[in-house]
Structure formats: C-alpha cells, structure tokens
C-alpha cells in the first residue's frame, strides 16, 4: 500500500521544493515508484528543478482540476529524463501561466480532487510514494493539500519566525489528527552539530525531528539548476537526504 506525504512549511524559502525534488530522486533510486506533485498551485516551480520545460508538460494539475484531462495525462515519467537507472519517478506539474493561476484563485476547485490525486496514483497506478510539494502558510488551500495526504513533513529553519509558525502549524495539524514529522533545514552548521537540537525541537513542536540538514553554500550556489543529489552524489547534503529517505522508509514500514 502506498503513502502520500505533504512537504509543507509555515513560511516560504525553507527549501520545500528542493527537499521534495531531491527526496523524490533518492526514494526512486532506492527502488520505489514515486510521484512528485507540485501542489504549490499559486507559485509552482518544482518543474524548474527537474529541468522540465512547459513544452514537455502537455497537461498540468490545473487541467485535471478543471476536468480538461484525465490524471494520467498530467503524469510525466521523468525517470530517464533524470538518468535514473533504478525505481520510477513521475511528476505532475502545475501551470505557471498567470491566467491559470488567476482562474484557480477566482473560481476555486473541488477540494476533494487533491485526495483523489493520491488515491488514484496509489490505488490505480500502484505508486509507492506520492510527494506533495505544497504552498507555504496556513491558507485554506494549503491546509487542504496537507489534509489530503497521510503524513506531513514540516520543513523549518532555525529562525524565530519559522519556529513560531511551525509551532502553530504543528498545533493545527494535531487538531486535524494528522501525523507530522519535522525536518530542520538550513541550520547554522555549528548548531546542526549539537546532538540535543533535534530533541529540543521535538519537545517544542510535539512532533519527531526526522532530519537535521545544515546550511550548505553549495546548495544555494546550485540555484535550482537540476536536482542537487544527482549532480553532487558525494556531497554531505546528499548524505542527509539519503538518511532522511531511509528514515521515512522505516516510518512508512511501521
């Protein structure tokens, strides 16, 4: 049975899309059938990291939400595009066209369709893991996308705005009875080396910390031009993502 995971954060710029793309690649390299879905429908960008042009994306999630195509029409097999030799990696992108985003904002959409996306992917197409890259914050649409998945990964940085926001987000998710885990991202390297950090954050947000990823200049310099783990397989960031993937796998197995 597959699982859907929402990758979410209270604020923007925490590294949700970077984490989603890199995690998706590592999970598929571990042999899983993975789908990365860009649910950041008002500011999509995951396709940029995967190096997918709008020409290749014949259909988007927007088309599915407005019944202009079937879900399978919006699914792109990017396994060979990324040069992956193991597992399977698929992608569903959202439209970057301003008129499409405006339509979503103006007309809305059937909120149950997000759930249907993971439902169909898992039950009809035999997908192991669906990763939802969400829009940050606590808007209704964002909460819908988080609630449409089985568990959520809250990405947070160690700054006060993020800490406060993640504390509140975790509180809300508990209210909705959703299981969440925390990934500390872009942590000052000195602080990342402190063994007690994960425990302190877990105690605060009442959710287990599953990864502590230090800030790496190289990830920033990479500037979303491709998937980092593929270009830098020996970099410590890649090791952290592999460890996160293994942790998630053990949690899912339970």
């Amino acid at each position: 049975m597959g699982v859907s995971i929402a990758i979410h954060s209270y604020r923007g710029g925490t590294g949700k899309s970077t984490t989603t793309a890199n995690l998706a690649v590592v999970l598929s390299a571990l042999g899983f059938k993975v789908v990365a879905v860009d649910l950041d429908i008002t500011s999509p960008g995951l396709h940029v990291i995967f190096g997918i042009s709008s020409e290749i994306m014949k259909h988007t999630l927007n088309d599915f939400l407005y019944k202009r195509c079937r879900l399978e029409d919006a699914v792109l097999d990017i396994t060979s595009h990324l040069g992956l030799s193991k597992g399977k990696l698929y992608f569903i992108g959202s439209s970057m066209k301003p008129e499409e985003i405006a339509k979503l904002l103006k007309e809305g959409y059937n909120e149950y369709l997000f759930k249907e996306v993971s439902d169909q992917l898992i039950n009809s197409f035999g997908v192991d893991i669906v990763l939802f890259d969400t829009h940050p914050g606590l808007t209704e649409d964002t909460i819908i996308s988080v609630l449409s998945s089985e568990l959520s990964l809250l990405i947070m940085r160690m700054d006060k705005q993020d800490i406060t926001g993640t504390y509140i987000t975790a509180q809300i998710l508990r209210r909705f009875k959703k299981v969440s885990y925390v990934v500390l991202n872009m942590v000052p390297p000195k602080l990342a080396s402190a063994p007690e950090l994960a425990n302190e954050v877990s105690k605060l947000v009442k959710a287990p910390v599953v990864a502590v990823i230090p800030f790496y200049e190289e990830v920033l310099s990479h500037r979303s031009r491709g998937v980092f783990v593929l270009k830098h397989p020996k970099h410590p960031f890649t090791s952290r993502i592999i460890k996160l993937a293994e942790t998630l796998f053990s949690l899912i197995k339970r």
Binding site: E116, I122, N123, K190, S193, P236
Partner: protein, 101 residues
C-alpha cells in the same frame, strides 16, 4: 467510492478517528456532489475558528525555547574556544575540513 476506499487506507496513519473534533474523514464521506462541495473548506474554517489560540502563551514558550538554543550555542562556542586554546598550546593546526558535515 474511490474516496471511501482511500479513507480506509488513511486510517493506519491517524491517531484516533473517534475523538472530537470530527476528523477530516467524516467530511470526505459526505454523500452527494452538492453536499460535498465546500464541506471540507467549511470544516477547515470551523476547526480553525474554534482553536482559541493564546498568543502570549505561545510567545512565552518560543522565548523559553530560544533561550535553550542560545545556551546550546554558547556551550558550543565555549568548547570551540577551549579547543582552539589547546591547539595553540600544542601547536596543532585546526582542521578546516571539519565544517563539512
């Protein structure tokens, strides 16, 4: 039908579906398209509205947390200073590569 079956698959990940407030899955099982439309949004809005968040308490919790993190940082700084002092005494060159964890 499809939605109902997903509901079942989601159960192993939720904590307790029978406790209040009503879980998300109750909303999803509502019959009829018209009734379903908007009901999840309503559910989210009403759940958030019922939260009665005490912001001053949250601010106090976060401040305490910040103090603990500061203490961790100070401890690391202190250790680094001691190591650097020892390195000077022993004439050892610091290993710059250590930063790349």
């Amino acid at each position: 039908m499809q939605i109902t079956s997903l509901t079942a698959s989601s159960r192993c990940f939720s904590e307790d579906l029978n406790s209040t407030p009503p879980s998300l899955y109750v909303g999803i099982a509502l019959p009829g398209k018209e009734r379903r439309r908007g009901s999840l949004r309503d559910f989210i809005a009403s759940t958030l509205a019922s939260m009665k968040t005490d912001m001053s308490r949250i601010e106090s919790v976060i401040s305490n947390f910040e103090r603990r993190i500061d203490a961790i940082m100070n401890k690391i700084d202190d250790l680094e200073q001691r190591v650097s002092h020892l390195e000077k005494l022993l004439g050892v060159r610091p290993d710059k590569g250590k930063d790349r964890r």
